[in-house]
């Protein structure tokens, strides 16, 4: 059993390296705009995500369940979900500079996986079952999509700032049109919101099965609902009050900040029953 975990650990180190080289590639591409470098960077991320997936499968098999028992494992799982979601969005929209954002997030998250202490976990039966797996899968992919919405939002703000100030500069040539950035951001929001909604519902069902109640005022539950509300309001405002462009971009950043706090901050500063599997 230890052997499987060690193999997975080595694979994750390799994944970290792939993401880092890809980040370097994207930085080079940002400055020099050489298309082959961009393509190589995408291939590196793709290779990284595939190896990452394999590593998590190996971990899962040797642990006999989804490897989300402590903070390091959860971070690794979040990075995988983010990488997979990025490849999907990249394939769909070909928004080149989004890769830079993705490479930064992936490298940063994997840095956490590398340096944070991998606490010993006691495998229990609580973190199993259909509803639990659905909950994890939906919440992690949903958060990943909302993260990418934030990335597209940041790119929007960079491009918008230059155009509004009438000083089209460094980013003007490198980024696509405002409309397109807004479209990608919105598509990611809707996808992420949809996944998150079902992720929360499956969470409630799972909580009912384990603790006998849907809602227990756990901090993580409260903040998750808060983040969900932010996106619900944003989608509503876009439909009925024309909240698009800059305002929408800022909201995606706020929303994603809440998600990150929900993911990390709650465990570090507050507490609650989600604590158990993200020590």
């Amino acid at each position: 059993m230890m052997n499987g975990l060690q193999t997975a650990g080595t694979m994750l180190q390799f994944v970290f390296l792939l993401y880092l080289v890809s980040l370097a590639g994207y930085l080079f591409y940002l400055v020099y705009q050489k298309e082959p470098v961009h393509r190589a960077s995408i291939y590196l991320i793709t290779a990284g995500v595939l190896v990452h997936f394999a590593a998590i499968v190996v971990m899962g098999i040797s642990m006999g369940g989804l490897p989300v028992h402590n903070l390091v494992q959860s971070l690794s799982m979040a990075a995988l979900a983010f990488g997979g979601m990025f490849l999907f969005v990249q394939y769909k929209f070909q928004l080149k500079m989004l890769g830079l954002f993705a490479a930064v997030i992936l490298s940063g998250t994997m840095l956490g996986v590398m340096v944070l202490p991998d606490t010993q976990v006691v495998p229990g039966d609580i973190l199993k079952g259909f509803w639990f797996y659905c909950h994890i899968l939906l919440v992690f992919t949903g958060d990943a999509a909302l993260g990418l919405a934030c990335g597209a939002g940041i790119l929007y703000l960079l491009q918008e700032k230059g155009i509004k100030a009438k000083t089209p500069g460094f980013f003007f040539k490198r980024l696509p049109s405002l409309d397109f950035l807004d479209l990608v951001s919105h598509a990611c929001i809707v996808t992420g919101f949809f996944l998150l909604t079902f992720g929360l519902i499956t969470g409630f069902v799972y909580a009912k099965a384990i603790w006998g109640r849907f809602w227990s005022w756990d901090f993580k539950e409260v903040f998750s609902l808060g983040a969900w509300l932010v996106y619900a309001v944003l989608i509503h405002l876009r439909l009925y009050s024309g909240w698009r462009g800059r305002k929408s971009a800022i909201m995606t950043i706020i929303g994603f900040a809440i998600i990150i706090f929900t993911f990390l901050g709650v465990n570090l500063f507050l507490g609650g029953h989600h604590q158990e599997f993200t020590k």
Binding site: I163, K166, L175, D179, S241, G245
Partner: protein, 425 residues
Amino acid sequence: MPHIILIGVNHKTAPVELREKLAFSREETLAALKTLKQHPDIKEILIFSTCNRTEMLYVSGNQRSVDDVTAFVCAQKHIHVSEFASALYVLHRDAAVRHVFRVASSLDSMMVGEPQILGQVKEAYRTAVEAGASGVLLNRMMHKAFSIAKQVRKETGIGDNAVSISYAAVELANKIFSDLSTKSVLLLGAGEMAELAVEHLMSHNVKQVLVANRTFENAVTLAEKFRGQAMGFEERESALAGVDIIISSTGATQYVITADQVKQAMKKRQYRTLFFIDIAVPRDIDPKINTLSNAYVYDIDDLKTIVASNIQQREHETVKAERLVAQAVVKFRKWLDSLAIVPTIKAINDKMTAIVEMECDKTLAHLNHLPEQDRAAIRRMTRAIASRAIHDPILFLKNTGNHRDDALYLNVTRQLFNLDISDEQ
């Protein structure tokens, strides 16, 4: 020694009326190439004619041919030489090569960096090949020109930036909207620059063009020109809800579109993006509109600033491009020099001597029992074999004249003996 000559006129030396008179159509070019090829002094020739230039590039045995070619053009175009003598430039050797490389790289264009020129140069070369007028020198020179042009485009940002007001406006529109074919344009007033901007936008297939003018008849005339729709000037406020790009160029002394009007319109249009291009002086569009969400206002000064910085950027890139061209000219000159008879014969001799020496050393190393004079005899013999073997080819190369194309034979010789591997294509 072959002599590369280029004579021609271009947009810098000749006004459009003169360039029109001297232009060659494709058929005329083909006919002219076939005639000029017969000239005893012209070995290879290429004619390059676009709306901005007419140039003849040829390889000649001497310089007298310039007058003959000029006379030929006069006869073809029914024009007296005095009419264009002052506009004519005659470039020799490196200057001619450099000119061709600069033209192909779009450094000599009216709009430096414009991309069409390379295609036109390629077309001219194809025509010359078709007429059988291109030979070893021009083939190599034109292929070098194509590769240097590609290199310039790839390695410098020379064609990157919009350097006219109307192009800058379209470039901005393209960075605001993702798909111009779903956007509508409203033209307020009239004016050369505004109409040019509308035309550029139309080349991006905008969905619809609306034209409003204080004089309705003018609006109708302009709308016909742009295959658009005319509307009353007072309707402009309600039109704001439906259009996406507003180009304004009226003679009004006050703002024709105010911030309040846009605020109202924005609600109606669900805050979809509005882009104002204000070409009028005094301004037509209230600059405060730029502070509203999803509304962008560029006036003539803003656009001029962008164009100025683009031009500056382009000049910066031009220096880089000129350096690339200069390097290519030096390289071509080296190749050309090597095509002379004496260096070629010397290169063959050197190569044979080197082979003989190497083989002798290898063999004699195993024959240590031989006395010194025998070894010297063997060396003499091998050298004699080598020089006898290359005697006839060298004699053939020295026997110039007879109207044969020396460049062709020299090129073949150099390839047969593999004399310049370092700079082959």
